[in-house]
Symmetry: C2
Amino acid sequence: MLVETTGSEVRQRGGRRPRGDRVQTSRRPNYRSLRNSLTPQQVFSADQIENIHDTSLRVLEELGIKVLLAEARQIFRSNGCLVDDDSMMVRIGRDVVAGALATAPRSIPAYGGARERDLVFETGALAFVAGCGCPNVTDLDRGRRAGTLADFEEIVRLVQTFDVLHMHGPHLEPQDVDLRFRHYATARAQLTLSDKIPFVFARGTPQVEDSFEMMRLARGFSEDEFRNGVHCYTIINTNSPRQLDIPMAQGIIDFARAGQVTVITPFCLAGAMAPITVAGALTLQHAEALAGIVLAQTSRTGAPVVYGSFSSNVDMKSGAPAFGTPEHAKATLGAGQLARYLGLPWRAGGGSAANISDVQAANESQFALWGAVLAGATVLVHAAGWLEGGLSLSYEKLITDVEVLQMMAELFTETPGDAAAIAFEAIEEVQPGGHFFAAQHTMARYRTAFYEPLVADWSNFGNWTEVGSKDATQRANGIWKNVLEEFQPPIQAAETAPMLDEFIERRKAEGGAVPVS
Amino acid sequence: MLVETTGSEVRQRGGRRPRGDRVQTSRRPNYRSLRNSLTPQQVFSADQIENIHDTSLRVLEELGIKVLLAEARQIFRSNGCLVDDDSMMVRIGRDVVAGALATAPRSIPAYGGARERDLVFETGALAFVAGCGCPNVTDLDRGRRAGTLADFEEIVRLVQTFDVLHMHGPHLEPQDVDLRFRHYATARAQLTLSDKIPFVFARGTPQVEDSFEMMRLARGFSEDEFRNGVHCYTIINTNSPRQLDIPMAQGIIDFARAGQVTVITPFCLAGAMAPITVAGALTLQHAEALAGIVLAQTSRTGAPVVYGSFSSNVDMKSGAPAFGTPEHAKATLGAGQLARYLGLPWRAGGGSAANISDVQAANESQFALWGAVLAGATVLVHAAGWLEGGLSLSYEKLITDVEVLQMMAELFTETPGDAAAIAFEAIEEVQPGGHFFAAQHTMARYRTAFYEPLVADWSNFGNWTEVGSKDATQRANGIWKNVLEEFQPPIQAAETAPMLDEFIERRKAEGGAVPVS
């Protein structure tokens, strides 16, 4: 067994296996429902977390939050909050907060278009969402440009393809579609090209109701059935500091009443919209998130809410936002402590401020990713493709980030530590200075032992040069093009198109729905 | 205070501060002696770790290790091991291993050329070493080429410049220097250009003795003084599986007797030189590391040894080594558990198999870095610049990796969580929808609040385009050139050159020292 054996010979030996013997021929781990196997890290003591929570309660009680929507103020008022309609300030007592926290669900099952796409939002689970909210898109062929519906549909196809991207988001703004009709186009793309959980923008009740109706049509639910399960979600960004605008407040109310998930995410850039300290930024974030949770729970008891964190810092020389910084990671770790203090599922934010998909972009995104994973985030938004602090979405970076997400998913898989894995017999079989390529222990495992990379090229410099010296970004370019070329939507999803188109045609004829601002 | 205020106005306000008022004007954290603030992660249960340890003892007891150096076999024999000189196999009883582990120091103080460069190798501390062992170097201007002494000296200057690189290593092979004289050149470069702890290659006693003499000359120690403190280190790689060659065995003996550190690092690529399972690769690694520790402790009781881990996997399709993979990270986490089980300081390995400093290289290196940090590694080798699995060292990647190491060092700094940091008053000061740029709380902290990046560019797309659309690697190119241009060696180090040159001239005239193989 000690002849020199190459990898190709290992393959050959595999080929000699008797026919009919069922062997898994490649690694196929389940990336669809991740459980985070890492122990959460802390940046604050338990006392400090209690102090942050308590100070947030003081902020809500003593300072209050400005709520621009009259209906929301009325809900707060009728639930015992102190409301001043002239200043639009709402002060929320800690008893009201405690009541809301008591009814917010700890575990939220959510349903995709196929059972394998279902998710559960709860402590210990982890879902990744590609970059969101980008006005622009960029790729190596077409350059940086304003996002279009064609781009949106391409990104939906890419997201649908990779299991490690768990649900959709408002990845980019299809700027070629009128705002009155844009929500039809984005809902249609998500529902006809994918069976993953879709995102609905909270841009006022008319658009939200349109979108809910499309979800019901596509997935075949009555209004009651729809309301009794989670089938889509939205992200609510407060206007930090201490302000909740009309569409966001309306979104909380509408989604709560419809039983759909709101991810209530203050966007607290330390030094700009929030105190310059990590603890201060989190105190503000926590207060605003709690205010949103109160509005959701008082709109409908038990409404599914996800605690949201997206606190990073700005460059104090220029005021420019930064992501994937040490302070961003610290804020995320602290947010995880606060979310666990509440016991609620929660989202973190990733991404990079780099202008192209380069080494800076990779380093910042991965640093933010580890911050979120080590914080025990339940959902990580902007986990792939997000550049320029959200001003553009990169096709190539989406692919190279998916690689890192898959590596993380692999890290979560069990590492066998039984006697067979410890492999005394294999060590005995191979003589000093020999190799394990042909060992029985290797032969039995080599097909499925290791992560098989999507983009990484491990060939040597000579071989790599011969095939064109392509860097990872160039290879990623080939990968997304290939995915789009070969893409087939889930049959059931594709079949919903005529029904949705009929609805869209009718609504367009009626003038669509003007977004509320 | 609620007028629109930009970052530049923040700076201006800072400028109005009365003269004579001492204010720290930029962030200057201590990157020189890092303490890892993160809680170690586990991939194996305590039982599994005990089983791996116990199986390693069985490997040493029942199977043995092949030791090519007669002197080493004699030392093993005289300490109760079973030695067969014909097969060169040494079998080590668990009592002998236990004895060695009882005398191996848990904490190893090591001395640089200045007190601020001193390190302690112990659980909880963390030192970073740039990429090592590379035959080639690469940069954007000069391309990929065989390493020269000029390159070696440039890398020493870069390593000296960044506090977050804590000691030197055999970064590259200066192939333009005859092997009989190469150790003079590399020792001279480290001792005259830097005050950080130098590395000495274990290529036989004559070279090692030469190098020790140069350390003593440069740092002003007698033989006794030198032997009573750690002033340099070497890395011992076993020839996995289960083989210790002549220069490596000799190195363990020579360094132990001279009281200098050996980092005993089996290089166990799962599927190739080690079992294909993480647990199996670690069992072999552990056995080999224990054998080296036994040789060190039996050569001199209490000899400073660092447990070494560098277990990753190969691509089973091609046999190519891979780094920064999920399996590499898992192996590092498991190695940390084994090192803590022994209570010894230990090293991990980072790096990437990418052929250029691209997104793959960044992603693999950072993934390996987190694996090592979360494993509680005491020393991380190949932490910056290492490409092609060690076949080349990249100047630009060294810089971009230093950025990530600095970010990690920042993450380790304390995150204030007291009332001043929680900042209720700042939140009270800023009205809803306002901003914190001009808040008193911000003004008091903005100069030192956040990490200031080395390479990252957070400017917007327009400004970034105007100044040339440089990616991170291109910017890193400018940074290393600037560092080399402005480099000044520590005065005391530079002053040792004439003394060292005299020694080198004499030894060269005597024929130098032929490396042992």
